[in-house]
Amino acid sequence: MTERLQIALPSKGRLMEQTSELFAAAGLNVRKTGNERGYRGEIEGFDNVDVLFVSASEIAWYLKTGKAHLGVTGEDLVQEKISDYATRVVFLKKLGFGQADVVVAVPRCWIDVETLADIDAIAGRFREAHGRWFRVATKYLNLTRRHFSEKGFSDYRIVESLGATEGTPAAGTADFIVDITTTGATLAANGLKILADGVILKSQANLVASKAATWTPRHREAENELLRRLGA
């Protein structure tokens, strides 16, 4: 592996903008190298650091495999993409942006349901009446499974959903959902409510270090200097 520290930063969207602002405020001037549309960059004054611009979900994979030493990505993505995240990465600093909650939401008309235990209590009768388990639409397969299994809830099926998850109960493809929300407005507009114990994770952008990457003293030196500037 190269002696240069690899840091993966979001390549697009709000997360990219907020990451650049954060780095700029810390006096770290990140710029792209070569082509303006390229995916590599550098930090001014750091001749031993490579910047990799990739999508936030890919950053989780880079950290998991050790392709990057450091990365900026959402905690939700790390927990979802890395099944044994506690042994693979270290969360160094919450960055104060990209806040979103991963929540369990059910139709508001389920007047008789306020907690996961309430769903558990009706799952058997639902199955008798409809000939199938409850379907949960989500893109967070692992987070959902882990959370439900911790709560002892197992009478459900996951339907993988890659977009417009909040519309699936009305469309009939799922009965309730696990999704990300910032204000809850989209959920309400789709006739859904968050369970009283439905917040699975309060996520935000984090500076994350990979334990899978090869760390040399030179890498550590670069990391320490970056962390000092970022106040981590």
């Binding site: 007047i111 058997g124 439900f148 009965d175």
Partner: protein, 389 residues
């Protein structure tokens, strides 16, 4: 993890021949169900939790398939394919690969690909006899394969069901407790809640509405619910109907008004769950536990004793077997007798073989009704490892 060597493979094959010969001689027909199974079946039968340990994939047609995590469900499906009514008596045996993701890492006794050798017996009317014959045959097979030192653990979910049926409480609470039996923590919480404050079951549900609904006047409930929804601007969304929601609100309303579960009944259930004893002595212990409360589960206890007696007749050393009332909790589809063969070297976390009665599984796999079924599977890699230790 090193690749499997040819020698290891041959040792397993030789062992499998011994196991299968024993099964076939006892009248079990050798079958080879498909390795690739529709994922649906497993997820619907065993629940989503199994998916976390199953290799699920999508084929080019977009169908969701899986590598079988065991051979019991595939054998049930094979039986139903052959006999649509599934009432036919049949005895099967198999030896084949099964696949499980090992979340806490793979090792020699927790491989992701392993061979299961097992038997299933469907439709036998004499349950205790079929239970005993299944366990006796598995013990005969592992002994024939060269296992000398092992420990037998047994449990009986039929006893718990009988106890629950005899205990004084509304039927809906029995269902709740049976449903939670698999999760010791949740079971204790549920028991406590029913004892202290069944009204707590309503939790954060709209109290005013619950108070208005009178369980003795179910005909009024739909109107009250409709009014509540209209006043709060709530539309009906999703597959659950108003009738289903109403029905459950009536259950909640009944719980809110119900007398709590008596502390003595709760204690009885707790005492039962805590019983751990040598198999022979366990019957007497259980009798003591229930007698003081005037609860009658003698039919289930008789079945327990008769099974032990049959096992002894078939040459099984029941004197050194251990009974635990809690045993079987982690395996949701079992309905009666359960057992495990453990080696002192590998310990309880890695049983060499296990099995039991699962009268509901054939129906869950598509049969028209519940059918008597009992079976067992041997983890052949562990058996081989235990013999070498």
């Amino acid at each position: 993890m090193p690749a499997e060597t040819a020698r290891e493979f041959e040792a397993l094959e030789a062992q499998a021949r011994t196991l299968m010969t024993t099964f076939i001689k006892a009248g079990h027909e050798a079958v080879a169900p498909a390795i690739i199974q529709p994922a649906d079946i497993y997820l619907d039968v065993i629940g989503e939790s199994v998916r976390a340990r199953t290799y699920v994939f999508t084929d080019p047609d977009g169908d969701e398939l899986c590598l079988r995590p065991d051979l019991t469900v595939p054998t049930c499906r094979l039986h139903i394919e052959r006999h649509t009514a599934a009432e036919q008596k049949a005895k099967y045996c198999y030896n084949g690969a099964a696949f499980r993701f090992q979340p806490s890492g793979r090792d020699a006794t927790h491989p992701r690909e392993f061979r299961q050798a097992g038997i299933e017996s469907f439709g036998a009317a004499d349950h205790e006899k079929a239970d005993a014959a299944t366990l006796a045959l598995v013990i005969e097979a592992v002994k024939a394969a060269g296992l000398g030192n092992f420990k037998l653990r047994i449990g009986d979910l039929g006893l718990f069901r009988a106890l629950l049926a005899a205990a004084d409480m509304p039927e809906r609470w029995r269902k709740r407790l049976l449903h939670q039996f698999w999760r010791p923590e949740a079971f204790r919480t549920e028991l406590k809640r029913l004892t202290v404050a069944p009204a707590g079951l309503a939790g954060s549900l709209p109290g005013r509405l619950i108070a208005l609904i009178d369980p003795s006047k179910p005909q009024d409930a739909p109107r009250l619910l409709a009014k509540h929804m209209e006043e709060n601007g709530i539309d009906l969304v999703g597959a659950r109907t108003l009738a289903e929601i109403t029905e459950n609100l009536l259950v909640v309303a009944a719980d809110v008004r119900a007398e709590p579960l008596s502390a003595r009944t709760a204690q009885l259930l707790e005492n039962y769950v805590g019983v751990v004893a040598p198999a022979r002595a366990a019957g007497a212990r259980l009798k003591d536990v229930v007698r003081s409360e005037g609860v009658d589960i003698s039919a289930a206890l008789d079945a327990y004793h008769r099974r032990l007696h049959l096992l002894a007749e078939m040459g099984v050393d029941v004197v050194h077997a251990d009974f635990s009332a809690e045993f079987g909790r982690s395996l949701e589809y079992y309905t009666g007798f359960v057992f495990e063969i453990v080696s002192p070297e590998l310990g309880q976390g890695s049983p060499l073989a296990g099995g039991g009665r699962y009268d509901g599984l054939l129906k869950m796999c598509g049969a028209a009704s519940d059918q008597p079924a009992v079976g067992a599977a041997i983890h052949t890699e562990r058996l081989l490892a235990a013999k070498r230790l």
